[in-house]
């Protein structure tokens, strides 16, 4: 089950922007080390900025309501659901997406473990799975099963690759 804690955490990290009548302005976002200026409404979810405005399609849309984890990115290293994170809540924080996660030691170790153990089926959820797993390993280098459950239960995989995801996280943690 999706842990209510998790939802609360995600929601409290990035509260919705207060309503404003002001003209929208351009936002400067730092994504994978590159600065981007985007001119969108302040309540635009980061997901659509990444995917549609900037054309980086590795980050996926699955539910739009912080229920599936497909859209997970890192904001200053914290796994964050970009579908409910509005663009005005980000400020100067550094955003990392799946396209650049391989440049972190955790990301690289996870990608290798994912391929070694052939975790992936359709693959559509896997960007989000890897982003959640990378944040987990950065914080908890040797996660227990319980740690894995709590970090990963926000990520749905309809193909049911969970058993291999768990094994691959453990393998990457040993690397």
């Amino acid at each position: 089950m999706l842990s209510p804690d998790f939802l609360a955490r995600v929601n409290s990290t990035f509260p919705p922007a207060p309503a404003t009548l002001e003209e929208a302005m351009a936002y400067n976002l730092k994504i994978n080390g590159t600065a981007h200026s985007v001119d969108v409404d302040d309540d635009t979810p980061l997901l659509w900025v990444i995917r549609d405005v900037l054309g980086m399609t590795g980050t996926k849309f699955g539910c739009g309501a912080a229920l599936c984890g497909a859209c997970t990115v890192h904001i200053d290293g914290v796994a964050t659901r970009s579908c409910i994170t509005t663009v005005d809540s980000i400020g100067d924080s550094a955003i990392t997406t799946i396209e650049a996660i391989g440049e972190t030691p955790q990301g690289a170790a996870l990608q290798k473990a994912w391929l070694d153990l052939e975790v992936v089926q359709c693959g559509y959820c896997q960007s989000g799975q890897l982003m959640s797993a990378a944040a987990l390993l950065a914080e908890t280098p040797k996660p227990t099963d319980e740690d894995i459950n709590s970090a990963m239960s926000g990520n749905v995989c309809r193909c049911g690759t969970y058993q291999r995801i768990r094994a691959a996280i453990k393998q990457a943690a040993e690397a």
Binding site: L2, D43, V53, F61, S150, C157
Partner: protein, 734 residues
């Protein structure tokens, strides 16, 4: 870059077979021969290519080799996670004599003449049929390619083709001193007459070097770093995106739309109305969704505004009292029932289910004056083309379907409805438009696995052996809509699959089917099709018989499988590996189910714990499987894991219900998927077999439910006859 390399060079020697060209994204291969290194391959490291590859050597629909050495294998079936791009590529590569890391694969364009699945007679990926259907044709296609490439080399060297050998994409002469790569031979080979597919000699299974190995998947490297392109990732110059809202009541129509409010949203360009839906076209989906909300659409609900699940069930209950179209009748079941020592009756029900593929429905369309382009992930490219012809009036050739990797199919993408809808919208839009459904639209406008209502009766003799078996299935017919030519005399062969032919010796058996269509609710194939429903019913009822006969469920089944050695084999295997005879603590139970489905024999044992609050935890699934010769055992294991979880999700959580003509569920908070903290350990044990390969993708989904509910019975003494499992019913009564 390292993460893209599936097969690292095994040694640092100078004859290392392959290496990366730094930064170029090309995977180069080097021939090992005679101390010289000749560059022979240049396949795209991405390994799945979107665009149709043209190459001089194209002896059939499946093989393309260009003089630079790029070997492209064209995939007639689609990759939706089941690993078919790897399994099918293995069939081709085995006979063509190339390695999997020397090839790229390409999505096939729509073409029934070249790519029809011989089991389904159309270019369709379904019914777990890909390997079964293409087992012979793809090996033949590979062998044709190899024969031609060898012939071209032999001609060049002036020797007999029989003296030459092909391996790893290189032809060598008898001495081993001369060699030519497939790239070097491509032009010459393309000029030779192509032999008939059935005239070429295929390898003996004992000589296989690739088939039967746990080969690495060709599609996964691009799926771990965001490079994989699904339909929803389509990007085109000038493309807009659209969010849609479809009438919440099935069959309703748009009444009013506040276009002005929608257009006032920054980034919104256009509001498109069609009969049943409204689309807001914008620069990005954030704006489109906001615009859609602002549009405050009102609907004319139409004739189905009072449809409710309870009424649908009532009608099924009523109509299933009457006899239906007979699927099987042997002996005299009624008479045998009358004279049996013991009679058992039961009613089973399974709910409507949504597919909820991880990638929500989407389709990108560019309408042009006399033609159109469509970017989508579909299980049925030719059928989609036909439907688009229907809404556009364009000839087939003017409808270009660009297929993609699918973010899950499960049967949902056997339906072209999403493409048809996108085309209707795109007709009003200038330039390309990508229509993306929200998760809510995806769940509420799915086409659902039918609600089935089954009446079971059996008679047992004094020893508890079944002497009569009747099974009546009532529910919607998908065949009647999808393949009406196969819906004959009121019998839907899918609705009765695995019910008409249970694996057991049953002397007097009568199975029939009553078609009952739920008003307004569209129904469709769902992973496991007929068997997901029927195996649950048959195997649950078989468990009831074992219980009535006061016999062990495994032993009882074994006695009825004496003449079915492969079914007996998987049952014995699963029981043994599960430790069937070892006791479990209180509150826990083991259940078994066995079936012959999609050409494979399968048995599962599930272990569950039922809490005092009725909560069910599935702890372990042990699967015995005989799917004939296995092409890729690792993919098979992955399918057993994933397919079981897909089935478990339905058993424990899955139900679509309808109130006032609307689907009540909307997202993953009320249509619950299984999550990582809930899933059991799943063990797969394969029977080694040389029989023709069976299907696999839908096998575990079909078998798992009864194993779980039978385990619940073992733990609690309560029989689950209606899915999903209701914890209320399982609460300890104390």
């Amino acid at each position: 870059m390292d993460t893209l390399n599936l097969n690292e060079p095994t040694s640092g020697s100078s004859t290392s077979r392959r290496t990366f060209l730094k930064g170029g994204g090309l995977l180069l291969g080097f021939a090992l021969l005679g101390g010289t290194t000749t560059s022979v391959f240049a396949a795209n490291a991405a390994q799945v290519t979107e665009d149709e590859v043209k190459a001089p050597f194209a002896p059939n629909g499946f093989i393309r080799i260009d003089p630079k050495g790029t070997v492209t294998l064209v995939m007639p079936m689609v990759e939706m996670g089941q690993g078919t791009y790897t399994s099918l590529a293995m069939l081709l590569a085995e006979e063509l004599e190339v390695d999997l890391d020397q090839v790229q694969v390409q999505h096939a364009p729509p073409n029934d003449a070249l790519y029809a699945n011989s089991i389904l007679h159309i270019q369709s990926t379904g019914l777990s049929s890909s390997v079964r259907a293409f087992w012979t044709p793809l090996r033949q296609a590979g062998a044709v390619g190899r024969t031609l490439l060898i012939a071209a080399a032999a001609k060049q060297w002036g020797v007999e083709p029989g003296t030459c050998k092909a391996a790893h994409g290189v032809v060598t002469d008898a001495s081993g001193s001369k060699h030519l790569s497939y790239g070097e031979l491509a032009d010459a080979a393309s000029k030779l007459p192509v032999p008939a597919a059935d005239s070429v000699k295929l390898k003996e299974p004992k000589d296989f070097t690739l088939i039967g190995t746990p080969a690495k998947r060709v599609d996964t490297p691009m799926k771990v770093d965001g490079r994989a392109i699904y339909g929803i990732d389509t990007k085109l110059p000038g493309m807009k995106v659209a969010a849609i809202s479809i009438s919440p009541v099935f069959g309703g129509k748009v009444k009013t739309v506040d276009e002005k409010a929608a257009l006032a949203v920054k980034g919104v360009h256009q509001v498109v109305k069609i009969d049943e839906a409204v689309a807001v076209v914008a620069d990005h989906l954030g704006a489109a969704k906001k615009g859609l909300e602002a549009a405050a659409i009102e609907w004319d609900d139409g004739p189905h505004a009072t449809v409710n699940t309870a009424d649908i069930i009532m009608e099924l209950e009523e109509k299933s009292k009457q006899p239906g179209a007979v699927a099987r009748n042997e002996g005299d079941a009624e008479k045998a029932l009358g004279s049996a020592a013991q009679r058992i009756d039961a009613i089973y029900q399974v709910p409507f289910l949504a597919h909820a593929t991880m990638e929500p429905m989407n389709c990108t369309v560019h309408m042009q004056k006399d033609s159109c382009d469509i970017w989508v992930g579909t299980q049925v490219p030719t059928l989609t083309q036909m439907f688009v012809a229907g809404v556009t009036g364009f000839p087939k050739e003017a409808i270009r379907i660009h297929n993609h990797l699918l973010g899950g199919g499960f049967g949902r993408r056997l339906e072209p409805d999403g493409t048809v809808l996108a085309v209707k919208i795109a007709k009003q839009v200038d330039g390309p438009v990508k229509v993306v459904w929200s998760r809510e639209e995806d769940i509420q406008h799915d086409m659902y696995r039918p609600y089935y209502y089954d009446r079971m009766s059996a008679g047992l003799d004094a020893d508890g052996k079944p002497v009569a078996w009747t099974h009546r299935i009532a529910g919607s017919s998908i065949f009647a809509r999808y393949v009406p030519q196969l819906f004959v005399n009121g019998l839907d062969p899918d609705a009765v699959e695995a019910a008409a032919e249970p694996p057991y010796a049953l002397p007097n058996i009568h199975v029939d089917y009553v078609q009952v269509e739920p008003p307004g609710v569209p129904t469709a194939f769902w992973r496991g099709v007929g068997p997901t429903h029927n195996v649950f019913v048959v195997e649950s009822f078989m468990d009831e018989l074992a219980h009535a006969a006061k016999q062990d469920p495994v032993a009882y089944r074994k006695a009825l499988l004496a003449n079915n050695p492969r079914a007996l084999g998987v049952l014995t295997l699963a029981a043994e590996k599960s430790g069937w005879d070892t006791p479990l603590p209180d509150g826990q139970g083991r259940g078994v189910s066995v079936a012959f489905i999609f050409g494979s024999y399968v048995a599962q044992v599930a272990e569950v714990t039922v809490g005092p609050d009725g909560a069910v935890k599935v702890n372990r699934i042990v699967c015995g499987l005989d799917c004939g010769l296995s092409v890729n055992p690792d993919t098979i294991e992955a399918q057993i894991q994933g397919g079981s979880i897909f089935g478990l999700t339905a058993v424990l959580h899955g139900a679509i219900t309808i109130k006032d003509g609307r689907v009540e569920q909307s997202n993953f908070d009320n249509y619950l998927p299984m999550r990582i903290d809930e899933v059991p350990v799943i063990e797969t044990h394969l029977v080694k077999s040389a029989e023709a390969p069976g299907g696999i993708g839908e096998v575990p989904t079909s078998i798992v439910s009864a194993a779980v509910t039978n385990a619940i019975f073992a733990a609690t003494g309560k029989r689950v006859r209606t899915l999903p499992v209701d914890p209320e019913m399982l609460k300890s009564s104390s």
